[in-house]
Symmetry: D2
Subunit: 254 residues, 4 copies
């Protein structure tokens, strides 16, 4: 039985791509996403077509019990979860406070922060019992600084970043590697960034900035995630940032 | 009609003491806390005995509608809220992940993060319309780093810190001063710290460390809060830390 | 004999203005600057005209022995140095690496970092012996993030920021209050900012942005410095930021 | 002609080990260190024994002209410098301010900060002309927070960290990858840590903590350095931390 790599938020961007790379590396990729059953099927079939293992599930992480049940079922039916890729964001675009509803603010927290907490409660005891595991969290600039229109997003991402530090403080010594990856720039991700910007705009950006490697490529992100998994326990990374060579870091200005 | 200083979390520590100082400075202190009606009464009477204005309310900030109704009522019946002291914490002591319930994690967020969001939604438009105001948030070390046993606390406080940055980014230019105060050390606060440690232990600490000014004194915190309120708009502080001279900063080790 | 407030970098901006305020507060203002003897004289006379005490010295902080001798002489002839305002910057404008000479890089370090180290070596033992004192360092955005063209400036300011943390770690418990003030925005300072931008440009900015309090006012900075000096030792601030309400914090973008 | 990997600070710890790994990866390892000609010879011979290329040089980075001449000579005689490993520290152990001499403080800066500046001035224009290159800087906890006894070390390392940010801001867009690696823990490095602690103590630590992977292994650090070099320019890391699973991060306490 292969170990499982559980991907929460497995769209056509970082999540699905990382799943594919981990399937190649010998894991059973368990791909979870909220919607787009067809897209999910294609991802699973792509991986299987390469001779590797994948299973897809539609799952609303904001709903009670969903994450917990999925972990139980994967452990019982697919394999021990050795790798978690927590790839759920809480980006809802820029919205002034007056247009940020209670519901949106809470949903951001449920997806980005509380979802990881629930997942950690399920997988950490199992990982500790088995002697190890890794939880990689895909994060964003909003985790390190608030900004105009980011009331919901930044609060959720920053809460999650320190949750990762707390998880690391408790579980690192017990063999669980927690890694927080600051994705600081636009990702070449049609399912998320593409939909937020609109297809036409996104294709223009791909044809210009993207043509010169100005968009973060999910395949390359996956390489760094694999490196994190392969780090020896004497030399673990808790946090790293990723951005295109041509992009300006969050702490600089144009 | 005096302007109101709305204190959320007005116990015998920083909250109540800041309320008293602001009453002396000409505000009507509106003191809100979840429980201990007697303690609240004493606070209000103490302030009135000095010839100043105060009103107290029992209020559960985690409950729907409570903060919103209070803001409406204060504005209608007491005076325009010019100062907000957001003094609600989410400290539940150190608890390993397995002992941090969903309920505790969510409550931390409801008190520390979502409560400020709800309050900001109510007061910011009013402050903007009146040309200004100030929101001072009492924060803690947990807002800048997660730690063992701090799963709930650190996530809530860090989320709030970046919410403050987002509020500042949107509202500073509109005249609202947001200030995030990192209280990095033990406070001489019988109602919170005292109860968490137990009276006996707390009195011992007071008699030793406290006797040499090793506990942060709420009266002194209030002086810094007053200074923040008095800062000219050309020269505003967003963030500052406070600790005793004899204490070790969070970023150092013993 | 009045206690002395030693100001390193006492131009017509923050340094000189803080000196004036501290003179009003009962200190003998000892104003040191590298050049412009006439400007220095005017500052000293302004303070004396108010009935307060001030003495001015031309002093090149980058030169061997200058700071040390000044401390000795002030302590012997004027009064015990209870307050240090370290107001020397290392700003040389934006310069690409190829145009940043070895000399400029080293000078930045000599002025901003090494100068404070030398001064601390002289005053800290004296302050410890007398039971206390305060060192306030005027800092800048460059202390917390490097940027294009800031090779010299950011390296010097960041080195100094952590030197302040190291000084605080050793001397806070011995009664010396170290405070690092992040001045994050343009200051209404004709002697430094004015000269860097050119008089005409600077006057235009004053007449527009400045007219709406968009420039940090030295008089207001001085008020915060005085507050720092007056903080009780149970409740000291190590770091705070200052910027105009209308300015964008360094961690945000326009 | 192979491209050169220039290692500044090539002892038996991270520096030499990274050199060996890069030699295996096809670079000519150019190993520079201040002293211990025998140790240097052994390193070079070890690499050559594996059939790879290495050359060693004794070099005092604090001395005028040394770094510059080495760059010239390597470029002329060995190969284009595509990789720089800047591995010079400034650790002098914990020393109170009174025991930190001017010389020690300046030497820390010369080694850790100014040396990198000088090296960057030499290699950056060459890298830009050739379309790319990478500079990896081995850093330490002291780069992000000052501490008791760290007056010299922290000032030098923090200055260097922001110099790296400034270099990145100018040169990333021109194809130079700058990476700042926070080595946050004790390294299994006999030449530096071993000498600082004394051989006996160090061997004891190796036999206990080290036996359970509680010391950072230079071979594992080298793997992460190789990963950095192999990152695609769409997805570069500027900063990451490294520590043993059993160690406490700098931002936490024991």
């Amino acid at each position: 039985m292969k170990p499982a790599c559980l991907v929460m938020g497995a769209g056509a961007g970082i999540g699905g791509t990382v799943g594919k790379h981990f399937a190649r590396a010998g894991y059973h990729a368990v791909l979870c996403r909220r919607s787009d059953e067809d897209g999910l099927k294609r991802l699973v079939e792509d991986i299987r077509a390469e001779g590797n293992d994948a299973t897809g599930f539609l799952l609303n992480a904001a709903e009670e019990g969903t994450i917990e049940e999925r972990v139980h079922a994967v452990e019982a039916e697919i394999g021990p979860i050795e790798v978690v890729i927590y790839n759920l964001g809480a980006q809802i675009g820029n919205r002034p406070l007056a247009e940020t509803s209670y519901k949106a603010f809470e949903l951001g927290w449920r997806m980005a922060t509380f979802g990881l907490f629930r997942l950690a409660r399920e997988v950490c005891p199992r990982m500790v019992e088995r002697g190890g595991g890794i939880i990689i969290v895909t994060s964003a600039t909003a985790a390190v600084r608030g900004n105009s229109g980011q009331h919901s997003h930044a609060a959720a991402m920053a809460g999650r970043r320190l949750l990762c530090q707390s998880l690391n403080a408790e579980f690192s010594k017990q063999g669980i590697h927690v890694a927080h990856v600051l994705v600081d720039g636009m990702v070449d991700a049609p399912d998320t960034v593409g939909k937020m910007l609109g297809e036409e705009t996104f294709e223009k950006i791909r044809a210009t900035r993207g043509a010169e490697d100005g968009l973060i490529l999910p395949d390359r992100v996956a390489e760094t995630y694999l490196h994190l998994v392969n780090q020896h326990r004497s030399t673990w990374t808790f946090e790293l940032d990723l951005r295109s060579y041509s992009d300006t870091p969050w702490f600089n200005h144009e």
